[in-house]
């Protein structure tokens, strides 16, 4: 490992260092403020390193040149795609930490371990977004999942422990499926390197002739790709791999649910983009798997939105909503054309933009829910009655977030949906767009119902709900991101465009 490699990995290394530091600090000094400020300052370090890397400072070759990427032992890569995701993960982590500060008082012990585990999981996600080799993908995936299982069970009550066990076992099943798929791909191509897999498959299809009666050219590849999709499908909570989502979301501490719903999903999509656009993007292949994503998208949108209507608990409702949103995002994966001729990057860039917009929106919704449940101790929708009278600020923020989730302008949710639908339409998948619009209409039913309950129902009690400063800041930041990116999305869309150009190298 050269010093250059260490520098390239500096965001991850410094973040892991922070996770260790706070645990050690907590053992010796029982000062809450000190630990809090350590986390605050410590979070800035990886951000600064990432900014330096984005601008190509201290790297021999510029990141802007599309011909060069930077390998760390050839298994990891640092380019603008991974860095954009790293910024996203760091942003999500900061918001979740801010909104957790008041939440952790519910736990009797393990207050610091909570933050440490959260940071470790983020390190895993950051690594996941930069992998370009199958084995490393698996290891990074486990690094994100294991701390997560602990975090889900950290509340210690029955629901939380049950959710933790469920997550652990189902995550293990999905890992097994993923590994099995990887093995098939490795067996056929003889390599685990994403770029080399592509070349090897190209070589095979040239020998066999381009037209084949079997999907993906041969049964081995068919098996491999489907198992890999099943493995990643768990991460992005897509139907039919979504069964864990409602139970785990309900049982986990709310900030962890928020983290799972945006960071875990973003990491899943990052690695899907990397693998499918890196390895399986030849013309014939991409048509095959894009169809599969299209079907999964329709199923996710329909099942997610319809079942959400029947929910009474807001966390369960948001769980089904997150399944539906996985469907919308997958629509962006269905627009593919082979990498050799004029590549349409519209699809992947709309996926990245959607992930950013969804992160802001869903975090805003969850932070508002945390702020309310800190006071009321309940996640039932009926307990949100008349919140507008008890705390106008929380109510308006939650309303903006829900409007954005529905996809109504001038919020980022609208822009994100517009982009994804537009790219699917340009790909000729009008039936997919039709399913998307109809299910969006259905989703308005349950999103807007919450706004109705907040504003039109009478409050159960009249005590005003106070926002603690950190949660308030988190709420303000996310809600302003929702509105600002909704009004002026161009810079973010441009960044997403720049990022996805690195996928095809």
């Amino acid at each position: 490992m050269t010093p250059q490699d260490i520098y390239l990995l500096s965001p991850e290394i410094s973040l892991a260092g922070l996770a260790l530091t706070i645990v050690i600090l907590d053992v010796f000094i029982k000062n809450r403020l000190l630990v809090q400020s350590t986390i605050g300052i410590g979070l800035l370090v990886p951000v600064i390193f990432s900014i330096l890397l984005w601008n190509g400072i201290g790297i021999e070759t510029s990141l802007d040149s599309n011909t060069q990427t930077f390998g760390v032992f050839n298994t990891l890569v640092v380019d603008k795609f991974t860095l954009l995701f790293k910024f996203m993960f760091l942003g999500i982590l900061s918001i979740v930490i801010m909104s957790s500060m008041s939440y952790v008082h519910r736990f009797e012990r393990t207050k610091i371990e909570y933050f440490s585990l959260l940071i470790f999981s983020t390190v895993g996600m950051m690594l996941l977004s930069s992998t370009r080799e199958l084995v490393t993908i698996y290891i990074a995936l486990e690094l994100t999942a294991l701390p997560m299982a602990a975090l889900i069970a950290i509340s210690g009550n029955k629901l939380s422990s049950e959710a933790g066990i469920k997550f652990l076992i189902l995550s293990a099943i999905s890992s097994a499926l993923l590994l099995y798929g990887m093995v098939w791909v490795y067996g056929l191509t003889g390599t685990t390197d994403v770029a080399e897999i592509f070349l090897s498959i190209e070589e095979m299809s040239r020998q066999n002739g381009s037209v084949s009666m079997i999907a993906f050219g041969n049964y081995g590849l068919l098996l491999g790709v489907i198992f890999i999709i099943a493995g990643f499908g768990f991460k992005i909570s897509s139907v039919p791999f979504h069964m864990w989502v409602p139970d785990v979301y309900e049982g986990a501490p709310t900030p962890i649910t928020a983290f799972l719903s945006v960071a875990s999903k973003a990491a899943g999509f990052a690695v899907i983009l990397r693998v499918f656009y890196g390895s399986f993007s030849s013309d014939v292949l991409s048509i095959e798997w894009s169809m599969l994503f299209a079907i999964m998208a329709v199923l996710s949108m329909v099942i997610g939105n319809f079942v959400a209507i029947a929910q009474k608990n807001i966390k369960r409702l948001l769980a089904y909503s997150t399944i539906a949103h996985a469907g919308y995002i997958m629509m962006g994966l269905t627009v593919v054309s082979g990498r050799m001729e004029g590549v349409a990057l519209e699809g992947p860039s709309s996926v990245v933009f959607y992930l950013i917009g969804y992160a802001a929106t869903n975090l805003a919704a969850f932070v508002a829910v945390i702020a309310v449940s800190n006071k009321t101790g309940s996640d039932l929708i009926e307990d949100f009655s008349g919140i507008a009278k008890r705390s106008p600020i929380i109510a308006i923020c939650l309303a903006v977030a829900l409007i954005s989730l529905t996809g109504i302008p001038p919020t980022v949710g609208f822009m994100a949906k517009l982009n994804v639908f537009n790219s699917a339409l340009n790909g000729g998948l009008w039936w997919l767009v039709l399913a998307g619009t109809i299910s969006s209409v259905v989703s308005a039913y349950y999103y807007l119902r919450i706004i109705k309950v907040m504003y039109l129902s009478d409050p159960l009690e009249n005590a005003p709900i106070k926002l603690d400063p950190l949660t308030g800041i988190a709420l303000m930041v996310t809600v302003s991101a929702v509105v600002v990116f909704g009004l002026y999305p161009t810079p973010v869309i441009k960044a997403a465009h720049i990022a996805v150009e690195f996928l095809l190298i």
Binding site: I165, K166, I169, L170, I173, S174, L177, M213, I214, A215, F216, L222, L223, I226, F227, I229, A230, G233, F234, V239, P240, F241, M243, W244, P246, D247, E288, L292, I295, I303, F306, V307, A308, I309, A310, Q311, M415, N422, N426, V442, Y445, Y488, P489, T490, I493
Partner: protein
């Protein structure tokens, strides 16, 4: 030379004032906090200075300053940009909007002093000014439309400022709805351009950039019939905002708002937006002869129509309101006969003298205790010398008497109408001349009724107003008088900018026309027509004389004239029954009983039926699928496995 950021700040200053007053001062400092007034004035002062800088830069540059537009959105392959278009027209509008707005705000600090909604007033005023500046600066049609609607929305807030007064609330609603009706045409024009976007893009143009749209006809990108339809759509929007017949009914009612609002919105800015829109897309309008004829006719009819109603009004603000409609008609007429620069020049001068007249009306009303009814005024000349002086300057200017600003601009318009050679130009010339006569008459009728004769008690005598405190007529405070003086001086001076006679100092002949012209080459300018100027002045003087004879010297012969024309009087007094036509016939008979009832039925049975079905089936489907969610881990594993099998099945069976 002004740079882009500084130009944006012309817009940002009032916007920041709006945000700070609306979000900090109003809720936290106080509803009557003096700070809000000062903040607005400071913001507008900065904007005004920057506007003059922008004007100077464009003069120095000799032609429009070009700034890169920024991408806002991309819809399919159409880029929707936003940016600044800084040419002669924009800078003139910037100067007008900012300087008039600044003076109005200073005046408002005096006029609104005792109002409970002081901070709210300045919040709305800042928002309005910011939207108007945004509209003027826009380099893109969509951007322009956004601010166009914001102007409408903020004017709604301002007209209905005293919303607990039913008349004000109704007037605000009416203004918003009537202008929206026209805006629908504007929106259709935008959509029509969007459907033609392929033609633009294949020629390397953008269907929404103002410059590209204007060049499109000349470059042969769109045919003149397409241009005509787009222009007609935009003209519908312009008619709504500029209160042209038959969309004029909202403007007189909008006088229910505070008087400074009337001065700003209904004299200088919002109503000028329609004229500005037509001027902005003048090459597009010019491409179609038929559209130009429509514009000229609508303008001519509006000019005489509103002027005739103005002859009989008793409310001083309503006289001014009808006068504004009539003058806007003059501007439209000018545009219609191709007198682009004359129209802009009239807009420019009118903004100053009409704002002046409105502010004097406010000053008079302030002094007599709150009424605007001229029948209860009179004899104020000696009591309010400054206001009287200002009203004389404004009135003479409006009537078009040498050497006031109005003289020059009205003369330019008449001259162009006379020399124009379209089918309708002869008609509109005589319409304009007749309207000029009426203008002089009603203006001086108002002046004489207010300032001459004996004082008739003010608000105390007005049965419609309940007053609590006794008021004796007095000159208004300094904050109100100083803007009047500044506007009077401006009214005296700005007329010379058009300068049709000879070079004066650093202002060359026809400076204004050259400055605002669009497209290549030189603006068509006409030599000063001495004969025409003499005739139009004579006609105006005749109007003033007639008003004097009737309202000051009280000749008996005119009393009997009034009786014989009582039928006409009644028709004018009821404003040609337009409100009755709209409200009783169109709205109640057609919309309420037929269309609305039918739609109501459709809504209740069909649409609600669909919604209820979706609601019920959605919940049922949801519950059904939710039953799969048993909470049993092994069940979840089974679903996952079946999912994988299903995926294999899809490929094995269907491929």
């Amino acid at each position: 030379m002004i740079n882009e950021l500084a130009t944006w700040f012309i817009f940002f200053c009032p916007l920041l004032a709006f945000i700070i007053i609306g979000m900090v001062v109003w809720p936290f400092v106080g509803k009557k906090s003096k700070v809000s007034g000062y903040l607005t004035i400071a913001a507008l002062l900065s904007s005004t200075i920057l506007s003059f800088w922008a004007l100077g830069s464009v003069i120095q540059n000799g032609h429009a300053l070009e700034f890169e537009s920024h991408n806002w959105l991309k819809i399919q392959n159409v880029d929707i940009n936003f940016g600044i278009m800084l040419d002669g027209l924009t800078t003139i509008m910037l100067v007008v909007v900012n300087s008039v707005s600044l003076l109005v705000q200073i005046y408002s600090t005096g006029y609104m002093k005792h109002d409970g909604g002081y901070s709210r007033y300045f919040t709305y005023m800042s928002l309005f000014t910011a939207s108007m500046i945004g509209l003027v600066l826009a380099s893109n049609l969509i951007q322009m439309f956004v601010f166009w609607e914001l102007v409408g929305a903020s004017s709604y807030l301002l007209i209905g400022f005293w919303f607990n007064k039913p008349a004000a609330a109704a007037a605000a609603k009416k203004a918003f709805l009537v202008t929206r009706l026209g805006d629908f045409g504007f929106l259709l024009a935008i959509l029509y351009l969007f459907f033609n976007s392929e033609a633009f893009i294949s020629n390397g143009l953008n269907p929404f950039e103002v410059i590209d749209v204007n060049n499109a006809v000349a470059l042969g990108v769109i045919s003149s019939s397409v241009a005509g339809w787009v222009a007609i759509g935009m003209f519908a929007g312009a008619m709504g905002k500029s209160a042209q017949v038959p969309f004029h009914t909202w403007l007189p009612d909008a006088m229910e708002g505070p008087t400074p609002v009337s001065a700003l919105i209904h004299a200088a800015t919002m109503v000028a937006a329609g004229i500005f829109l037509v001027a902005r897309f003048f090459p597009l309008f010019e491409a179609s002869k038929e559209v130009m004829m429509v514009v000229a006719l609508v303008g001519g009819v509006t000019a005489i129509f509103a002027a005739s109603i103005g002859l009989v009004q008793n409310d001083i603000k309503r006289v001014l309101a009808y006068s504004t409609i009539s003058q806007l008609g003059f501007m439209m007429l000018a545009l219609g006969v191709g007198a682009y620069s004359a129209a802009i020049f009239h807009l420019f001068t009118h903004a100053f003298f009409k704002a002046l007249l409105f502010l004097t009306a406010g000053s008079v009303s302030h002094s007599v205790g709150g009424t605007f009814d001229m029948r209860y005024m009179g004899g104020l000349r000696r009591l309010m010398p400054w206001t009287y002086g200002a009203v004389m300057v404004g009135g003479l200017s409006l009537s078009g008497i040498f050497p006031m600003a109005g003289f020059w601009s009205k003369d330019e318009i008449l001259n162009h109408a006379w020399h124009s050679s379209t089918v309708v130009s002869d008609v509109v010339f005589w319409l304009a001349l007749a309207a000029a006569f009426m203008t002089a008459f009603y203006m001086f009728r108002a002046v004489f009724m207010t300032f001459e004769g004996s004082y008739k008690g003010g608000a105390k005598s007005d049965p419609d107003i309940e007053i609590s405190v006794e008021v004796t007529p007095h000159e208004s405070p300094k904050t109100m008088v100083i803007p009047l003086i500044i506007l009077s001086i401006a009214t005296l001076l700005v007329g010379w900018l058009v300068n049709p006679l000879t070079n004066i100092g650093s202002i060359p002949m026809h400076w204004f026309s050259e400055f605002v012209h669009v497209g290549d080459g030189h603006e068509k300018v006409l030599a000063f027509n001495k004969m025409l100027a003499a005739i139009s002045s004579l006609i105006a003087l005749l109007g003033i004389l007639l008003a004097y004879l009737i309202y000051v010297s009280n000749f008996g012969i005119f009393k009997s004239l009034q009786k014989t024309t009582s039928g006409v009087y009644k028709l004018l007094m009821s404003k040609y029954y337009f409100d009755e036509l709209y409200e009783d016939v169109i709205v109640k008979q057609i919309f309420y009983s037929k269309l609305a009832a039918g739609l109501d039925l459709l809504d209740k049975s069909f649409i609600d039926g669909i919604v209820r079905t979706i609601d019920r089936s959605g919940r049922n489907i949801g519950r059904l699928i939710a039953q799969l969610q048993t909470g049993q881990l092994q069940g979840y594993g089974v679903v996952t496995s079946f999912g994988v099998l299903l995926m294999f099945g899809i490929y094995l069976i269907f491929r």
